[in-house]
Every structure is written in structure tokens, then in C-alpha cells.
Symmetry: C2
Subunit: 288 residues, 2 copies
Amino acid sequence: MRIAYQGEIGAYSEEAARAVFPNGKVVPLPTFDAVFEAIAEGSVDRGVVPIENSLHGSVHANYDLLREHEVHIIAELNLRIRHHLMAPAGATLESVQRVHSHPQALGQCREFLRTQLPKAKLVPSYDTAGAAKDVAGLGGTQDAAIASSSAVLEYGLSTLAAGIESNHLNFTRFLALTAGRSNLAMTDLPEQETEALRERWKTSILYAQRENIPGGLFKSLAVFALREIDLFKIESRPLVGSPGKYIFYLDLAGHVAEEPVRLALRHLEEVASYVQVLGSYPLGETIN
Amino acid sequence: MRIAYQGEIGAYSEEAARAVFPNGKVVPLPTFDAVFEAIAEGSVDRGVVPIENSLHGSVHANYDLLREHEVHIIAELNLRIRHHLMAPAGATLESVQRVHSHPQALGQCREFLRTQLPKAKLVPSYDTAGAAKDVAGLGGTQDAAIASSSAVLEYGLSTLAAGIESNHLNFTRFLALTAGRSNLAMTDLPEQETEALRERWKTSILYAQRENIPGGLFKSLAVFALREIDLFKIESRPLVGSPGKYIFYLDLAGHVAEEPVRLALRHLEEVASYVQVLGSYPLGETIN
């Protein structure tokens, strides 16, 4: 099975892809657009993309791609983003004079760099895995990179310091996607009890409020509250260029094949101008 | 009046700071932490920070800093992020061989670079304004930077191409902050009619749901719906390390000095374990 992700070999997205699909063959692609296109066209079987980070928020660009492409969510994963300092064999903290990484990763390791490598020059790069690749190419003991543990293995580097990020509560939620739209008529109920569905499954939807309904947001949430369906996530996103218009992202407890969820979504269509089911999938693991 | 922002001279945050405070003296600081500390300590009078972007979502890190520091919001601004290609005088699209910028800006101009400068080498840098500074320092006609229009002026460069971002609906919302916490007992009602308050003012709050209240989110939104207070933004954020616990960001129509808003916030305290008013401020302009 071929699993697409955005980034270089050794990127955090590759770690996520391998965690979700341990037996898959990972396929790095240059952009998120390319990942969504490859899934929709069937040139890969699955794709894994980041959708929100605990420090940087929702990746709206990937929500947009979920709207635009014929794909749906089949799994999720929370991955702790652990940054490591790595360099070719023989390097030590004393020998390192330059540290290469993506500006965001350099920023997330600011405290470590300030105290342990105060004289090192910080060299921005396109991505963390690319920095590891560059450092491996340069050789020598003066250049180090900040990247993932899989980059250490991929580029044959040695770890000089592990888990050097200032904030250890840095998690990224990834979604696993496959071709085809999920829809309300979906009847392939998994072989479990309905109660277990509510506890073990999550459904992600997107919707737009119908205009000129007073208290529209409140009414749209009532369709779930009235059926005792819990929510994991609610986020409004203003539609730029359309003042007063919003798209909502909602994650709810349960599966679209379940009667109350299905009824709630039918009810939602009465107060929303647009509803898209992004997929029903098992509640994801957190990898620390 | 001294206005702090994060970044180099010529950064987008500086544009935002100058737009909100045309007569202020801008003070660049290296980190967001430094900006919040400077405001809280009073070493600057105001600060301007990004809080959400139309492509990249909410800046959770700045919401965290709003929680941690004794500051409150006094204004907001939506700034369109327009990227320009700039180089020292004499350069042309034909002469440019390297394009320097922050990886995010390079990515946002991918289409332009692919079609207009297919042979140029892309050089990542720490920030857009820093790239402009570097290019000005290098001189010559082979190096160009992607940055803001204020970077063109600041570093004496010429614009080779304006508005080169692929997605023109790229807006960042900035908040203007000053020292001291906003609070429910606040009584400095602006000198306007109450109705105008509802139309022209916005209040931002943070709250945490009380545990073990069934339908807690729905009840917390009911306190506003029951008083016909419109919401501009609702976002849940899972508290990493505390499964099932959430912080909510809410922007509502009105001023905390208004009776219905004050009553709604009192009511919210019955269903929330923690409520923080981040500030009441006039509805912001959008700068295209």
C-alpha cells in the first residue's frame, strides 16, 4: 500500500504515516496539493496530512483541500513533536558551530540553543528533514541539524541531544485519508455495538451557517445537544471576503452510520446551507 | 508612544503596528514573549501581535501569552498579507538567480516562482524582513527577496513584482495590547449609546468548561444566545495532557460594560471553571 505525505524523507509527516500504516510504502510529495491529488486520482492508496498543532492551530489550508478533493478521513493520530540535535559521527556540543533547521523548529528550541550553544550560528532551512540531509552532505563536525528521530536514522547521523524543544506539550494531529467522499447515505456500519460506536468513533464535519437565521450557531449545536452527542472540536472560520459568513469545523462522538448521528446531520441541514461529512474513524492514539 | 512588535524592521507586524498607531514609535523585539513582557512591565506602551491567519489558523502560542501576562486587548486589525519581490536597483526578473525569504512566504508564492523564475534558487531565511535586509546587504542584481512593501522602503530596494502570493485571500488578524487585565467589574463605559456598543464593539474571552456538566459547551453558548448576543468566533482547544479538557476562545458582539454582556458573563461563570475577559475593543478595520 502506498502512503503519500508532504515533505522530505525523515519529516514528521513521515513518522505519522509510518505510525498509522506500519506496513505501507511511504511516498514523499512536495506539496499538500500534490498529496490530495494523488489520493483522489488513486496514484497512492492513502495520504497522511497534519490538520492541527497544539501551538499553531488548525491548518486551514488542509481543511480547504478536504473540501475541494474527493477524499475522506479514515484515521487520526496525535504525534508528539520531539526535536533532536543531530550531526555526523564525531561531532560534540563543543564542535558544533552552525545549527540548521526550519525557522519554526529553531524557534521551538530557542531555550536549548541559548543555554547550550550560545555561540552557534542559526541557519534557516526549508524543512527539518532537509536540514538533516544538508548536514549529512556537508559532513564534518561543525554543522548540526534539528529534526526528527527518523531523520537521524535516514541520514546516518548521531544524536547530540534529544527532546530539546522548550515546550514539551507540542503535538500535531494528523489525518489519514483515502479516495472518495464520505456521505450521509453511508450504510457500511462497522461490526460493533451501537454503544461502542459512540465511545470509539469520531465523525468530522464541515458546515456553513444558513444566512439570516438568528442564533444560527446555537441552533446548529442544538441538533447535537438534543441527541446527547458530545463534541470534541468546534471552530468557526470567517470566510475572507464574505463578512459575517462562516465555515464551522466540528468533530463529534459517534459514527455516521449510527441513527442519532444520522438524524442530527439531517436536522443540521435545516439550519445549515452546506454540510460535508469528512469521515467517521476510530478515536486516534496519542504517540508521546 | 512606544509600540512593540515581534520581528525585524519591515516585518508584517510592523505594518500592522503602524496602521493601528500611526504616530507611535515602533520597537522591534526578537520574540513574542519579549513583546508581552515589555507591555506588562510598562517598558513599552502598546504591543501588536498576530492572533490568527486565514490560511494557518489561530496562533495558540499568543493566546497562551494572553493568559499568562497582565495585558488586555484594546484594538484589532485585519491586514492583507501582500508579498512583493524586491531587489537592489538595476535588478530585473532576468537578472535574479536567488530568491530569499521565510519558507512560508516562499511556499505562498510558489506559483509565481514556478512560472516567472523557474531557474532561481530558493534560499530560506528566518523572516521576510530579514531576507530583504540580507539582499540589500549583498547588493548586486542576482539576489532578490520576498517581503512586505515596508521592507522595500526600509532597505532601499526596488519592487520587481507586487502581490505575487498565489492566494490573495491571505489575511492576518492582529491585536493591539496594553498593560493590565480587563475584568468584569470594569465600568468605564465608552461615551456612546448602548445600541451602538453592540454594533461597534467586540469582546474577546477565554474560558474553560466546568467538568462533568453534560452538554457543557451547549450550555456555555446558551448564556449568549438567551441574551441575543451574536458570536464572531468560537474555537475549542484541547488541553494537551488533559484528555477531555478544553479551553474555548470566544469573540462576541458588544462591550463588557453593557448590561446583557455583563449578565451573560456572570451566567457563564456558573458553567465554566475559569473565565478571562481579554478585552473590549472597537470592531477592527480590514486593510486590503
